[in-house]
Amino acid sequence: MKDALGNVQGILLLGGGSDIGQAIVREILRGRRPARVVLAARGTGSCGAFVSELTGMGHHVEVVGFDANTPASHEAVLDMAAAGGDLDVVVSAWGVLGAPQDTLDADPIAAAAVATANYVGVVSAGLETARVLRAQGHGTLVHLSSVAAERARRANFVYGSSKAGSDAFMQGLADSLVGSGVRVLVVRPGFVRSKMTAGMKGQPFSTTPEAVAAATVKALAGNAHTVWVPGILRMVFLVFRHLPRAVWRRMPV
C-alpha cells in the first residue's frame, strides 16, 4: 500500500531493462523505505546490474520473464507480480525504435515487429495491469509514451504510429478506469539520450532518463494524466500538430 506520505510498497517495471523505466523506479524509491520491486524483462541479463543496485539498497527484488510480443503470456506475468502484494505503481516502459525508417520502408515484416512490440504488447499488458489494479482498488499505471505519438513524422512513422496507437489506448484505458481507484499517467518525453537512442544524432529539447524520471515522480504526486518532458514540448507540439502537412513533411526534425 502506498501510504499518506508517498512511500510505496510494491512496484512492477514492465521492461525491466529499460533505462528510462529503471530511472523512474530509482527516482520513486530515492530516499524511501525498502520496497518490493518486480522487474519483468525479456532476459535477466538486461537488468542484472539494476537488481544488484536495488538489492544493495535494501529493496526486495523479484525478476520475472516478460515478452511484450507474446500477449498470451501477460496474464501470468501480472498474476505473479500481484501475488506477492499490492502493486502501487506499474511502469510500462519497454519499446523498440526499430531499424531506420528507410530500411523499414522496404521491410514490412520488421516494421510489423516494431508495431507489435510498441502497440500490441501494450494493449494486452495494459489490460492485464488494469485488471490487477482494479481488483485491489488502487494503483497507478505509468505508461512511457513519446512526443512521436503526437504526430507521426516522415522520419520514423512506423515507430511514431505505434507509439500513437499505444498512447491513444492508454488514454482510453485511463477513462475506462475512472471510479475504480486506478490512475493512468502517460509520459511523453522528447528525444531521450539512452541505450535505445545510442549513436543517434540528438534533437532540440532532448532530455535524459533522469529528467524523465524526475518529471514523472513529480507528476505522480499530483493529479495529472499526462506529463511532457521537458514541459515546453507540450507547447511545441501544440503548434506542430496543427502545421499543414506540406510544412510538417519538410520539418528538419
Binding site: A4, G6, G85, D86, G181
Partner: protein, 457 residues
C-alpha cells in the same frame, strides 16, 4: 452496494471498495461468508485518520445497527455498533448519564470506539472504552455470532478491543454509562511557560480531576518549548450549572467547510499565527469556568468537515505514547517536531493511566502527544520515521487508529503482544476474511519482509 472511493479523516491514500449498507446482522453474515479474496471490513463514520477503515478492492460494511437502550437502574447501555457517540449523548444526558469515554469528536460509532479502543481526557481516571464494556456481539468469519466480554472468551474480547475490526464485525455492545448531574463542565485553566511546567502541573494536579489535557503551542521553541494551556475539569454539579438547563444537549455544527478549499490555507504561517493567538487568548489562570459538552470535549465538531482545510494533499495525525520515565524522549521528540517544521494546528499532550489487557490497545501509563500535520511538509516521512526509532527504544508506540505512514518493520516492537493477537485471529479467522488497507500496509495479520497479503479463500 456501490463502489466508492474511501479515505480516512486525513484524506490521504484513497482506495475503492464495494460499500454495502448492512441493515441487519443477517446482512453482515451474508457479506462475511460470501467474501472474496480482498475480504470484508466494517466502517463507521470514517474518523480514523489513515487507512484503518478502508479495504481497497474488497467489501466495506456500513453497520446499520442503531438501537440504544439504557437500563436506568444499572446504568448499562445496550447500543448498536452503528450508533454514534453524538446520538448516545443525546439519549443519555437528559436521563442523567454520560458516555464513559469520549474522544475529541462525537462523530465516532460504538463499533469504531471498540475497534480502536478509544480514549479521552479521562484516561488517567477511567481508562479507555474497553474498560467500560460488559460484553459485545461479534459476527465471525464463518458467520457465527458470538457474545464476548472480559468474562466470556476473554482472549477474543481483548483481541477485538483495539483490534481494528480484524477479528469480526461488531454489531452491538453493552457498556456502563457514568452518572452526571449536569451537561456542564467545571473547568480550571492554566497557562504554562514550558514543557517541564506543563508536565509538572499535570503530574501534580490530575488526580483531582476526571478530565485533563494540555494544548501545546507547537511553535514554541528554546525556553518556550512545550508551553501551552492546561485544562482540567469535572462534571459540574447541578447547582453550579443551573437547574434549568442542567441536562440539555443540542449542540450542532455552527459552520462548515466547502468541498474545495484552495491549497495551503493551513500553512506554516497561518498555523504559527493560530498557535500564538491561542496561547495569548488563554487566561494565565482561571477556576470554575462552566463550559458545555462541545466546548470542552469536541470544539472541532463545531466546524463541519474541518479536515478539508488542509486542501487536496490532506493531513495526518501523529500520536504516540511513551512510558513514564521516558520524559526525555518526549522532550526530544517535541524539539525534533518543532525544529523539523512539522507545524501543527493542534498539538495535545495527555497523561495516560494504566493500560488494559487489549492486545493492540494503544494507551499505557505515560505521556501521549498528538499533532496534526499537513502531508506536504518537506521531509516529514523521514522525520517521523526517526521519531519512531526513538519511540521503540523506550517502549513507545504510535496509535493505529491515527496511523497512515508507519513502517511495517516497527509494528511488532511497538505492540509486543502482536503475536498473541495474531494467534486469536488465526483461531477465529484462519482464512483472513477481515482485512483492511491498514492490515495490508502493516502486515498486521502476517508479516513477511514485504507485507505479503493474506491468502484469503
Amino acid at each position: 452496494m456501490s463502489r466508492r472511493l474511501l479515505t480516512g479523516w486525513g484524506r490521504t491514500a484513497p482506495t475503492v471498495a464495494d460499500v454495502w449498507e448492512a441493515a441487519s446482522t443477517e446482512d453482515i453474515r451474508t457479506a462475511t461468508v460470501t467474501a472474496g479474496r480482498r475480504g470484508v471490513l466494517a466502517r463507521g463514520l470514517g474518523r480514523s485518520y489513515g487507512d484503518a477503515a478502508q479495504n481497497g478492492g474488497g467489501v466495506v460494511l456500513e453497520v446499520g445497527e442503531r438501537s440504544v437502550h439504557l437500563d436506568r437502574s444499572t446504568g448499562i447501555v445496550a447500543a448498536g455498533a452503528g450508533v454514534s457517540l453524538d446520538e448516545l449523548i443525546r439519549v443519555l444526558l437528559p436521563q442523567g448519564f454520560f458516555v464513559p469515554v469520549t474522544p475529541g469528536t462525537r462523530q465516532v460509532t460504538v463499533g469504531g470506539a471498540i475497534a480502536a479502543d478509544i480514549h479521552g481526557k479521562n484516561h488517567h481516571a477511567d481508562g479507555s472504552w474497553a474498560n467500560h464494556v460488559v460484553d459485545l456481539d461479534l459476527v465471525l468469519s464463518n458467520g457465527d455470532v458470538v457474545t464476548v466480554g472480559p468474562d466470556s472468551d476473554a482472549p477474543l474480547f481483548w483481541a477485538t478491543v483495539g483490534g481494528m475490526g480484524l477479528t469480526g464485525v461488531i454489531t452491538s455492545c453493552r457498556f456502563r454509562a457514568i452518572l452526571v448531574q449536569s451537561g456542564r463542565m467545571s473547568v480550571d485553566t492554566w497557562r504554562t511557560a514550558n514543557l517541564d511546567d506543563t508536565m509538572a502541573l499535570m503530574v501534580e494536579r490530575d488526580r483531582d480531576y476526571r478530565y485533563t489535557v494540555a494544548w501545546i503551542d507547537a511553535t514554541g521553541s528554546g525556553s518556550r518549548l512545550g508551553r501551552g494551556v492546561v485544562t482540567m475539569a469535572n462534571h459540574a454539579a447541578v447547582d453550579a450549572a443551573g437547574a434549568d438547563k442542567s441536562l440539555q444537549f443540542n449542540d450542532t455544527p455552527r459552520v462548515g467547510v466547502p468541498p474545495v478549499v484552495p491549497g495551503g490555507v493551513l500553512n506554516a504561517l497561518t498555523i504559527r499565527a493560530f498557535n500564538e493567538l491561542w496561547f495569548r487568548k488563554a487566561p494565565r489562570q482561571r477556576s470554575g469556568e462552566l463550559q458545555g459538552i462541545s466546548e470542552f470535549f469536541h470544539p472541532l465538531d463545531m466546524v463541519r468537515d474541518w479536515n478539508r482545510l488542509y486542501g487536496r494533499g490532506g493531513m495526518l495525525q501523529y500520536q504516540f505514547v511513551v512510558p513514564d520515565g521516558a520524559e526525555d524522549t518526549l522532550r526530544r521528540a517535541t524539539e525534533q517536531l518543532v525544529s523539523g517544521g512539522a507545524s501543527s494546528f493542534l498539538t495535545v499532550l495527555k497523561r495516560f493511566g494504566p493500560g488494559n489487557a487489549g492486545y493492540l490497545s494503544f494507551p499505557f501509563a505515560g505521556w501521549t502527544l498528538t499533532l496534526d500535520v499537513p502531508t506536504g511538509v518537506d521531509g516529514l516521512s523521514t522525520l517521523l520515521d526517526d521519531l519512531d526509532d526513538r519511540l521503540v527504544e523506550v517502549g513507545g508506540r504510535v496509535y493505529l487508529a491515527k496511523d497512515s505512514r508507519l513502517a511495517a518493520t516497527h509494528l511488532s516492537r511497538m505492540y509486543p503482544r502482536l503475536d498473541d493477537w495474531r494467534a486469536v485471529c488465526d483461531r477465529v479467522d484462519p482464512a483472513g476474511v477481515f482485512q483492511s488497507d491498514l492490515s495490508r500496509r502493516l502486515g498486521l495479520r502476517s508479516f513477511t519482509h514485504h507485507s505479503t497479503p493474506l491468502e484469503a479463500r
